[in-house]
Amino acid sequence: MNWRGIWAIYHFEMMRFFRTLLQSFISPVISTSLYFVVFGTAIGARIDEVEGVSYGAFIVPGLVMLSVITQAISNASFGIYFPKFIGTIYELLSAPLNFIEITIGYVGAAATKSLFIGTVILATSSFFVDLEIQHPVAMLAFLLLTCLSFALLGFILGLWAGNFEQLQLVPLLVVTPLVFLGGSFYSISMLPPVWQTITLFNPVVYLISGFRWSFFGLADVPVGLSLMAIGAFTALCVGVIWWIFRSGWRLRS
């Protein structure tokens, strides 16, 4: 393994992040606060507890997931798309690096950034609601796996994208709807039975459900199933990336 090469990519990507640290820090704080003002105070006041949890606290896991997923995707996709766009990708492809090392560098950095933002959101939330985390280890595991798997997905998008429009397309048209409809702001049990069944085809449901379980001990789907779903998703992404680098698709001619 070319560990120094991995570190070089990771470090370079993180430097970019630190250059804009203030923005990276402030924007999630503001957006989280806005969500709490709108959903927590304005609407939440009219909603009673959801399965014994105050609505304000109930939306915290979904809110964290929403940001973490979006950030992981955008950071990872931009991270690898930008070198492709400006041409510096030549250096990665001519360096003694294999696909695993390049992926670890970029995905690791994107996952770290989104983990940081997730943590900022959790911290911000604690100013608005009383948070209890029943299973902290599981919470961390779910958070890490989500950062990782969606950074992998973002990495694939960045490799695939041929222009900036395509880079935005999938997050906008696929990921954001899936996350919003994945129970970020409601419990699946609130839906009519038909929609409950349909919702189960949304992979994000398993993530948010598992993550919420680690906070409050209540879940829409069994926790084991949640873990399996995210594990399978991660494996699928790694497989796709392996194929892309092996075939040189959109990278080497």
């Binding site: 030549y90 250096e91 001619s253």
Partner: protein, 311 residues
């Protein structure tokens, strides 16, 4: 064993375009090889197959004895690449981007070495500037610094002086000479014959994906480096004066211009003699002009020869 060996390397792109048609090439350790060729000749494809940017369709390539596909880590560790396009992260600092290159090649951080490289390339003062603040010439230097940062034994320079000013071109040549003195094997592509002439040990000519020849510079220049002297006369003449008959002169432009072909590499070009003979023959000279055989002329010649050989 040559430092870089290509055996029957072919590259057919997805569209069916055959960019390399079975190239054989040996590049010896420590030499400077200039690859001359017009646009689209296959120069960049050739370099890219060695560096791992393009996968060859068939054939074998080794660098330092390591196969570039099977043993890519060992092969690529030896190679530095300066691409034709100036591709750099605009917002990154010079020193950071050079350090990144070293890291990518798995080398431990070495600030003294990076400083030395930046100083040699006159980039040290610019080390903390973002790349977008640099001039075009400085950006090219950054590309070279990046390629040198991991101490390559073989350096590929893909048209390093395309579109740079004369001064920078000279600097570039000096940098290349300095690298050669340090034992680095250098392969550069260019379509300026002057450039090949100025710095190369051997010259390879490539056209339509085929290497037409690889030859020592001195002997090639002797064969190909023809120059023509054009003497514009005050008064047109009907024929070449008898005293000048034994020189191979031609009359052009209705007797207004005398053309003399000579060999720049020859020990005696006979120019001084010719001029005195002209005045002895009573011809008054209005102007003189010299024209060097261009790369294009050389190509036409080579391609013709190739066709004749094939026939």
């Amino acid at each position: 064993m040559a430092m870089v060996e290509l055996r029957q390397v072919r590259k057919i792109y997805d569209g069916g375009f055959e960019a390399l048609k079975g190239v054989d090439l040996d590049i010896e350790a420590g030499e400077i090889l200039a690859l001359l060729g017009p646009n689209g000749a296959g120069k960049t494809t050739l370099i890219s197959t060695v560096c791992g940017l393009v996968t060859p369709s068939s054939g074998t390539l080794t660098v330092g004895g390591h196969d570039v596909l099977a043993d890519y880590r060992a092969a690529r560790s030896l190679i530095g690449l300066v691409p034709q396009e100036v591709s750099l992260e605009p917002f990154e600092k010079v020193s950071n981007t050079v350090r990144l290159s070293r890291g990518l090649f798995g080398k431990p951080r070495n600030d003294a070495l990076i400083e030395d490289i930046l100083r040699r390339l006159s980039l040290w003062d610019k080390r903390d500037q973002p790349i977008r603040a640099l001039s075009g010439g400085m950006k090219r230097r950054v590309l070279i610094a990046k390629a040198l940062s991991h101490e390559p034994e073989v350096l590929f320079l893909d048209e390093p002086t395309a579109g740079v000013d004369v001064e920078l071109r000279r600097d570039m040549w000096e940098i290349v000479a300095d690298l050669k003195a340090r034992g680095v094997t250098i392969i550069l592509t260019t379509h300026y014959i002057e450039e090949a002439e100025a710095i190369a040990d051997r010259i390879g000519v490539i056209n339509n994906g085929e290497i037409l020849l690889v030859e020592e510079k001195a002997s090639l220049m002797k064969r190909l480096g023809r120059k023509e002297l054009r003497v514009e006369l005050d008064e047109p003449v009907a024929s070449i004066p008898a005293t000048l008959q034994d020189r191979s002169l031609r009359l052009e432009e209705d007797g207004r211009v005398l053309v003399y072909d000579y060999d720049t590499a020859a020990e005696r070009t006979g120019l001084a003699h010719l001029m005195s003979e002209l005045s002895a023959a009573g011809l008054r000279v209005r102007d003189v002009d010299t024209r060097k055989s261009t790369l294009e002329d050389i190509f036409v010649g080579l391609v013709h020869k190739q066709e004749e050989n094939a026939a």
